[in-house]
């Protein structure tokens, strides 16, 4: 089980690092996918080792995949609009949500 959790943690950390540091909006979205997958691995691993006779974790993982797909669609649409308005998708420049 440890290996699975370690993999998930590493994946999550990589994804988080990507979300926090990437300037490219597409990159951030891709990093988000990484984090989703880390969570999915966790769900499946916990399901497998703690409650093997139930399928809760796996079904949750499927939900996450579906929601992630929808999220990716919304995110890409936002990115598309960002590109139209800012002529670019560098998230550093998109800082109008401040004082």
């Amino acid at each position: 089980m440890f290996q699975y959790l370690a993999l998930a943690a590493v994946l999550f950390a990589i994804g988080m690092f990507g979300v926090l540091t990437r300037r490219n909006a597409i990159g951030i979205l891709m990093s988000l996918e990484l984090m989703f997958n880390a969570v999915n691995i966790n769900l499946v691993a916990f399901n497998k080792y703690i409650r093997p006779d139930e399928l809760t974790g796996q079904i949750f993982a499927l939900f996450v995949v579906v929601v992630a797909a929808a999220e990716a669609v919304v995110g890409l649409a936002i990115v598309l609009l960002l590109y139209r308005n800012w002529k670019g998708i560098d998230v550093d420049r998109i800082n109008i949500m401040k004082w």
């Binding site: 800012w86 670019g88 109008i96 401040k98």
Partner: protein, 690 residues
């Protein structure tokens, strides 16, 4: 018929309201309405009188409770007894005559409609005063009558003397009314009601202490003293002659001034209950009568002579009523005619005095002056006026068989048993005959003293002479209802139908006739035949003449004793008010302002300071904290992640959390330092921020 008697006062009220609200601009129409309404009231009054005779003078009462409380009872109602019925008729007749007369007299006056509306209002008030069944209501109408009197005396208010006279009348009568209201409050306190019959029942049952009863009687009499111009409040009536002459005839001779006499007659039970009060009434009546008669001897203003004559005659009536109270208080079964004499004289006097005033008005209308020294010989020009004026003079002097004879005779009879009163009564009768015929002879006979005025004199129009003739008729015959030989005449009528044992006293009749004739004879000798020089007489009785000519200096005495000190006191009070009271007020205001300054400072710096201070603190905090809000989503994500990580670490090892926090702060400082040391790289592309 009696149930509808309350309509009698309402007819003139209706006329008043219609004139004031609708027909003010149509002068003739206003006058027609007023006259039509008073004639309606007259017809109704006649009907009421006959209804009253029909039920043998049994009183009729109808009332609506107004306030009912254990300690107080007020009501609006009517009380009709023979006295009321007679007063209705007198007021209606005199008011009707005066209103018709005014048609000619006031012709061309710019305020004709207003004049008629006032007359209607007055008639309403007077009728209301008469119909009232309780003291509360009579007081209301009493004041209304005073108001209309004020309005009509000052009717020609462009004249300063007229407006002054109005004020004088109003204020002087108000002094009496103050006493009246005190009397009413006493009655309310001790009897608990103001209804006549209930009060009288309590008085007769002895429910009111003697001293209180006497005080009440005297206080109520104060009201009568004011309204009926009795000594010492008589000074307003001669001045009231500034009003139009028909007004003088109606208000200041026949009706309103009779209200005081009516009041005394109405509350006679109070005086029967208290001999002291009755004696005060009688003495005041006598003093008034004597002073006024002796003043009338020397006056030269035709209306003033009549005014003093009025005061004198009112004193007569009051005296007779007072003596009735005294007699009845001493012996409940006494044979006193005072009550009957007073009310009877009230009626006859109303007619002949109104006639005298209207006649005087006719003369003034013709010669445009009030001074009898500028008249003379007018009988050739004004036949009807002269004839009616002589009839009225004979009547007031008490010559057989005119109405004045019968009533004056009764007054003399009322003084039997009081020798001093009888002596003065006869003396006054003598003076009355004298001054009336002095007036007649000086005005209508002899040679014209002012040729210019004489030539312009003319008989008055019919609207004026017809009322004179009506009143002359009444002056002759009105007294006959009280002939002493009648068993069911006026006397038994006013005594509520009780049979009044009444013996005609031939000796008194003869004596009073002789007295009257001698007065007329003296006037005849002095002013017609000029056998005795008036100037020589004045010379001989210099002091008395001056006293009489200057009206016993009453106005001067009041001026010196009351008005001057009052004015001085007013000045002191004015100074006090201006310097002490105002000073205190200003000082208070000053303190308030200063205190307000202090409070303003506190408000500005402490209260506002707190509020603003909080605001500044928030702003300062925000000024620092705003840098956290970078607008960069990644930064927020970083904080969320850091916080989430922190929570997990805190959950696992609380000590480790602090190292973690320290680490974060260290990193933040390092970042900040790096930013300061190495400024951010130049931004590229468009910047939406600005």
């Amino acid at each position: 018929m009696l149930e509808k008697a309350f309509l009698i006062p309402l007819y003139p009220l209706f006329a008043f309201l219609v004139i004031v609200f609708f027909t003010r601009w149509k002068e003739k129409l206003s006058a027609y309405i007023s006259i039509a309404m008073i004639l309606t009231a007259f017809v109704h009054a006649v009907a009421v009188l006959f209804a009253m005779i029909g039920r043998h003078g049994v009183p009729f009462e109808l009332s609506i409770p107004f306030i009912t409380h254990p300690a107080m009872k007020l009501e609006i109602g009517m009380w009709i007894d023979p006295l009321t019925a007679v007063m209705f008729l007198v007021v209606a007749i005199v008011s009707g005559c005066v209103q018709i007369y005014s048609w000619g007299y006031m012709h061309g006056d710019p305020r004709w409609s207003r004049y008629y509306s006032y007359l209607s209002l007055f008639t309403f008030s007077m009728m209301g005063l008469v119909i009232a069944n309780n003291f509360f209501m009579i007081f209301i109408f009493w004041e209304l009558v005073g108001l209309t009197s004020y309005l009509l005396i000052g009717f020609w208010f462009e004249k300063k003397s007229a407006s002054d006279a109005g004020k004088k009348a109003f204020i002087t009568t108000r002094i009496g009314d103050l006493g009246f209201i005190v009397g009413l409050l006493l009655l309310m306190t001790y009897a608990g009601t103001l209804n006549y019959q209930e009060v009288f029942a309590k008085v007769s049952a002895g429910a009111i202490p003697m001293g209180i009863l006497a005080a009440t009687g005297i206080f109520v009499f104060c009201g009568a003293v004011g309204k009926s111009a009795q000594f010492p409040l008589h000074v307003w009536l001669p001045d009231a002659m500034e009003g139009p002459t028909p007004v003088s005839a109606l208000i200041h001779a026949a009706t309103m001034v009779a209200a005081g006499v009516y009041l005394v007659a109405r509350v006679m039970t109070l005086y029967v209950g208290s001999e002291t009060a009755a004696m005060v009434v009688a003495v005041i009546g006598l003093i008034t009568s004597f002073l006024a008669a002796s003043t009338a001897l020397t006056q030269n203003d035709i209306k003033r002579v009549l005014a003093y004559s009025t005061v004198s005659q009112l004193g007569y009536m009051i005296m007779a009523l007072g003596l009735y109270g005294v007699d009845m208080a001493r012996d409940p079964h006494a044979h006193s005619v005072g009550y009957y004499a007073g009310t009877f004289h009230l009626m006859t006097h109303a007619f002949f005095k109104a006639l005298l005033f209207l006649g005087a008005g006719s003369v003034i209308h013709a010669v445009h002056t009030n001074e009898i020294t500028e008249m003379g010989g007018l009988s050739k020009k004004m036949k009807i006026t002269t004839l009616t004026f002589f009839i009225a003079s004979l009547s007031i002097a008490g010559i057989f068989p005119l109405s004045g004879f019968w009533s004056k005779d009764e007054i003399v009879a009322a003084t039997s048993g009081h020798p001093i009163f009888m002596f003065f009564t006869l003396l006054i009768a003598f003076m009355t005959a004298f001054y009336m015929f002095r007036l007649c002879f000086l005005t209508f006979t002899g040679k014209p003293r002012d040729q210019h005025r004489y030539e312009h004199a003319h008989e008055s129009p019919y609207s004026m002479t017809v009322p004179l003739m009506i009143l002359a008729f009444l002056s002759v015959f009105a007294g006959w209802v009280g002939l002493p030989w009648l068993h069911h005449g006026f006397s038994s009528f006013v005594y509520h139908g009780e049979h009044m044992e009444h013996h005609p006293s031939y000796i008194l009749m003869v004596v009073s006739t002789i007295v009257a004739l001698s007065g007329i004879g003296l006037a005849y000798l002095i002013y017609y035949k000029k056998k005795i020089s008036a100037d020589a007489l004045a010379e001989k009785f210099g002091f008395l003449y001056k006293l009489s000519y200057n009206k016993f200096y009453f106005d001067e005495i009041y001026d010196a004793l009351i008005i001057k000190p009052l004015l001085g006191f007013t000045k002191v009070m004015w100074w006090f008010d201006g310097n002490i009271i105002d000073g205190l007020v200003n000082l208070t205001a000053w303190f308030t302002i200063k205190w307000a300054d202090v409070k303003m400072w506190f408000d500005k710096w402490i209260i506002d300071g707190t509020v603003n201070g909080l605001g500044y603190i928030c702003m300062a905090g925000a000024w620092i904290l705003k840098y956290i809000q970078t607008g960069t989503v990644q930064f927020y994500t970083l904080i969320i992640m850091a916080a989430a990580t922190g929570l997990v670490i805190y959950r696992v090892t609380p000590e480790g959390f602090f190292y973690y926090l320290a680490g974060i702060i260290l990193v933040a400082f390092a970042r900040l330092l790096a930013k300061i040391v190495r400024p951010a790289r130049a931004k590229t592309g468009s910047n939406i921020e600005g």
